[in-house]
């Protein structure tokens, strides 16, 4: 396992902390200092000069304030003004991933390059196999004409000396659905029609050029400037994200100003019961298989990119849906805030009338750091509603299928398969299942490899988080079909 978060990702955390702090201190009066503080004069620049670094940071701050850098009208608008605009809006900013064009390094388009290892051999399989006649031999070495190359990779495959290297474009490589592509100038753009909001491009860009619109400021405003009852709904992946007990985390959130805190694992228990019943019903109807539906990135991918699988996707709603429904039933006027590892949940929340805002663990962490709250030292406050083993297992690959299987029991021969990570290959596998069927009848699809504990909004290492999730699950009671929840 490599170190998952690079400098570009860690910088995003710092930006969020600075913004949260700026809001809490003086409502953004000094916000325009943030890029200067993060890139002081004596610091080495990571781009051409510190001034460009600062310009990029300003755009990243804009996104942190919930604005979309692509929609910038006037370059002279200050961060203070953007902050004030953020405080005036009444609705959560729409979910959108976008590219900061000045930060995008326009990675080389030609993805195959012939290196010095080329011996200029007599056989020349690269030249012979190239379907576009893009390869010529110049001074005893093979060269690729980038205007003719179509990136088929034949030369890469046939070179006996492995002298051809593939230079990937990280964001394009990471996007499982081809939603991010270059424009004429070589800069990347995201097609919102195709985008499934998974955030893989954002996590993969080595230049930190991809941002999404944060709702952190909106949530803080609701807490600090209104009398509304603001409820935090903590996704099951919360275990291990903040050292200290979960009950201390409840104390920390209440100290920050949340009125109530509930585990989404409670909603996951409901999802488990309904999905198990649905599975048995579908199988008795003779359906070949069913897939899970709780991963919003997969759910959207199924709608837009794998339409053939739609009839097989479970109709059961997500843990977030059931949790928010419980919360709004008890307090219809409250503000329901989902806190999780996932960017696609922002898109799901736009369709869910009961969810008002979505935060990532990283954003919640930034809020706590800015407020000087150390979770471990907070008062331990228990949850009002208790979740069960199965619901707590959801965020690790295999957890959802395992939970459903535990309630299906011997009612039907359930054969689960884990689709661990929504990659281009796994999308093909799902298409094959939809058209030709397969040997298993319960497909659990997780867009993030390893499950939600590997989501782009996480703080902790996925391996450690997965252990914490497991340890917490073991302390719970076992859910039964007829267990009353809520």
């Amino acid at each position: 396992m490599l170190i998952p978060k690079n400098n570009a990702n860690l910088m995003r955390t710092k930006i969020l902390i600075k913004l949260a702090e700026s809001y809490l201190q003086d409502k953004f009066a000094q916000a325009d200092r943030i890029p200067l503080e993060l890139r002081p004069k004596d610091m080495q620049s990571s781009r051409c000069c510190i001034y460009k670094d600062r310009a990029v940071l300003k755009y990243r701050c804009m996104a942190g304030l919930g604005h979309c850098p692509e929609e910038e009208q006037d370059e002279l608008i200050t961060l203070k003004e953007y902050g004030e605009q953020a405080l005036e809006r009444k609705e959560a900013p729409k979910n959108k991933l976008s590219v900061i064009d000045i930060a995008c390094s326009a990675c080389v388009k030609s993805q195959y390059v012939i290196t010095d290892v080329c011996r200029g051999c007599f056989a020349q399989p690269c030249r012979l196999n190239c379907p576009k006649e893009a390869i010529s031999i110049i001074k005893g070495r093979a060269h690729i004409d980038p205007d003719k190359c179509v990136n088929c990779g034949k030369c890469f495959e046939v070179c006996p000396y492995h002298s051809v290297v593939k230079i990937p474009v990280p964001c394009e490589e990471a996007c499982p659905v081809g939603a991010i592509t270059k424009d004429e100038s070589g800069k990347e753009h995201i097609d919102t029609e195709k985008c499934i909001s998974c955030g893989k491009c954002l996590a993969s860009c080595p230049f930190g050029a991809i941002v999404e619109r944060s709702q952190m400021i909106d949530v803080m405003r609701e807490i600090k400037e209104t009398d509304k009852h603001v409820v935090a709904m903590l996704a099951p992946a919360i275990s291990g994200q903040f050292p200290g007990s979960l009950n201390a985390l409840v104390g920390a959130l209440k100290k920050f100003g949340f009125s109530d805190v509930i585990e989404v694992a409670v909603g996951a228990d409901i999802t488990t019961q309904k999905e198990a019943a649905e599975f048995v019903e579908r199988m008795e109807d003779g359906k070949p298989f069913m897939t899970t539906s709780c991963c919003p990135a997969y759910f959207r991918a199924a709608q837009v990119h794998i339409p053939e699988i739609k009839p097989f996707v479970s109709d059961t709603k997500t843990p977030m849906y059931y949790t928010a429904e419980l919360v709004k039933k008890e307090a219809p006027d409250c503000v329901a805030v989902f806190v999780g590892p996932c960017l696609a949940k922002r898109a799901e929340a736009e369709w869910d009338p009961n969810v008002d805002y979505v935060l990532t663990f990283e954003e919640l962490g930034a809020m706590l750091v800015a407020a000087g709250i150390n979770v471990d030292e907070c008062e331990e406050i228990p949850f009002n509603k208790i979740s069960h083993v199965q619901g707590r297992q959801f965020p690790v690959t295999g957890g959802v299928a395992g939970a459903v299987a535990s309630l299906v029991g011997d009612k039907f021969d359930i054969r689960p398969e884990k689709i661990d990570g929504l990659t281009k290959e796994n999308i093909k596998l799902l298409k094959r299942y939809a058209t030709k069927g397969g040997e298993n009848n319960m497909l659990e699809v997780m867009c993030c490899e390893g499950g939600c504990v590997s989501g782009p909004g996480c703080i902790a290492l996925s391996k450690k988080a997965a252990r914490a999730v497991d340890a917490y699950a073991q302390t719970g009671e076992v859910l039964k079909e007829d267990t009353k929840i809520g």
Binding site: I3, K5, T13, A252, G365, L368, N374, I459
Partner: protein, 89 residues
């Protein structure tokens, strides 16, 4: 071989969010030359961040034996561990 190098990673909320979480990958993929010679400990907040209002800018904090690493990154900590190993040889 001398005693193991003790790596104490602060897991207070501030340090953890600022990147201490990533340094924990030492538990899984420490470079081969140091992997067997370190002992990793999760340390509760040592209050190093509380001195000045904006002092968290200097986090995450990691102690390698008695040496404090400020604004710790995986790389900085690995380098410090190598220095400590050299010292004890």
């Amino acid at each position: 071989m001398a005693n193991k190098v003790k790596v104490r990673i602060c897991v207070g909320t501030s340090c953890f969010v600022m990147g201490a979480a990533q340094i924990q990958s030492l538990e899984f993929n420490a470079p081969a030359d140091i992997a067997e010679q370190i002992e990793i400990v999760e340390e509760r907040c040592m209050n190093l961040c509380k001195d000045v209002k904006t002092k968290y800018n200097n986090g995450p904090f990691v102690f390698v034996n008695d040496e404090l690493v400020e604004e710790a990154t995986y790389e900085k900590v690995v380098n410090k561990i190598r220095e400590e190993i050299k010292k004890s040889c």
